[in-house]
């Protein structure tokens, strides 16, 4: 897949912040929910904020507080939380070729969530090299601060927000699938990628319907990858038979 770099009209930081704004539609309602759930599970508001600041991995944070509240052994809490986050292992290598030689990059990986990765995978190769670190820092920092702020709002006044604007809580989370859709659609450019991507989306949705959303993400990706490699190998198999 070839990409063309385009010059930026604003500073890289500002561009990164601006382009990460669509993430907030998905981040803030989920962060508010997390703050609310954490307080209901017996954590104080500042403990909930500390968890969001330090762990900073959406779904696994819900599992963490839920298991702690349920009295699960702490080693199991840590193991389950890390298991959910294991998908992050494949993110940074996919971005490495688009990164500069700056020593800041490894530390900035704390902000590499699903959403930031999806955005960076599309945008980093399109940016001039000198703008990439600033762009990523702006985007990742906005997402991180929004997650922390959302958690604080949820922990301190989540119930009030949900009671006052119930529709907001229902509608805003759609920003996340809408953003992922916009990031995934350009990959439907070839039959092989298109088929693998559609199989992955369908498998992910099916597994979520079946109630295995967290394990469903790596499983669905594996289904898509299998499809990707089978499409490549199918002509060879035919010629042998």
């Amino acid at each position: 897949m070839t990409t063309t770099t385009t010059p930026l009209r604003a500073s890289p930081w500002v561009t990164g912040v601006r382009e990460a704004i669509p993430l907030l539609g998905g981040y803030i309602p989920i962060a508010i929910s997390f703050g609310l759930v954490a307080v209901q599970a017996g954590f104080s508001a500042w403990e909930a904020v500390a968890i969001s600041t330090l762990i900073y991995a959406g779904a696994s944070q819900f599992v963490f507080v839920g298991m702690v509240a349920g009295g699960a052994p702490l080693w199991l809490v840590v193991a389950m939380t890390l298991l959910i986050n294991v998908r992050h292992v494949v993110y940074a290598p996919n971005l490495a070729a688009s990164m500069t030689t700056s020593r800041w990059w490894p530390a900035l990986m704390h902000g590499l969530t699903d959403q930031v990765f999806a955005l960076a995978l599309t945008r980093l190769p399109q940016l001039p090299e000198a703008a990439r670190l600033g762009w990523y820092t702006g985007a990742a920092l906005l997402a991180w601060l929004a997650w922390i702020a959302g958690t604080a709002v949820g922990a301190l006044g989540g119930e009030w927000v949900v009671e006052r604007w119930p529709l907001l809580g229902e509608v805003m989370p759609f920003a996340l699938p809408a953003l992922f859709l916009v990031l995934v659609v350009p990959r439907l450019s070839s039959f092989r990628w298109g088929l693998a991507t559609l199989v992955t989306i369908a498998a992910g949705a099916l597994l979520a319907v079946l109630g295995v959303a967290n394990a469903g993400i790596p499983l669905a990706a594996l289904c898509g990858a299998l499809c990707f490699f089978m499409v490549k190998r199918s002509p060879v198999t035919r010629s042998r038979s």
Partner: protein, 114 residues
């Protein structure tokens, strides 16, 4: 929180950070080796395939409404179509998302008033 619970938070934090950071350090070394040795592949193919497909998987999972009903599924379908239509016209990030959310919300409101 107890000291043990704080230790669990710290362990989870370090583990998650390591999963995000260590593969980058490994990959950067690999890319550096690639510059000196032509025989080293820049990235294993399975890794370059799994990365984008993880995002497709997250999309699939996130498309399923939290409270499935005819109204929420219809709103999801309308939201997806609106997002795709605006993306096709603008090829931008922000407007398609805004249009998708608006269409999703409008469908939910209309379905609720029926």
């Amino acid at each position: 929180m107890t000291t043990m619970l704080w230790m669990a938070v710290v362990a989870t934090t370090l583990g998650t950070l390591l999963m995000r950071m260590a593969p980058l350090i490994w990959m950067r070394r690999r890319l550096a080796e690639r510059q000196t040795e032509d025989s080293v592949e820049p990235m294993p193919q399975w890794l370059s395939v799994l990365g984008p497909l993880m995002i497709a998987a997250v999309l699939g999972v996130s498309l399923v409404p939290a409270q499935p009903s005819i109204a929420s599924w219809s709103a999801t379908g309308v939201g997806v179509l609106a997002t795709l239509a605006v993306w096709y016209r603008t090829r931008s990030l922000g407007w398609p998302v805004a249009a998708g959310v608006a269409a999703y919300g409008l469908t939910l409101v209309l379905a609720g008033s029926l």
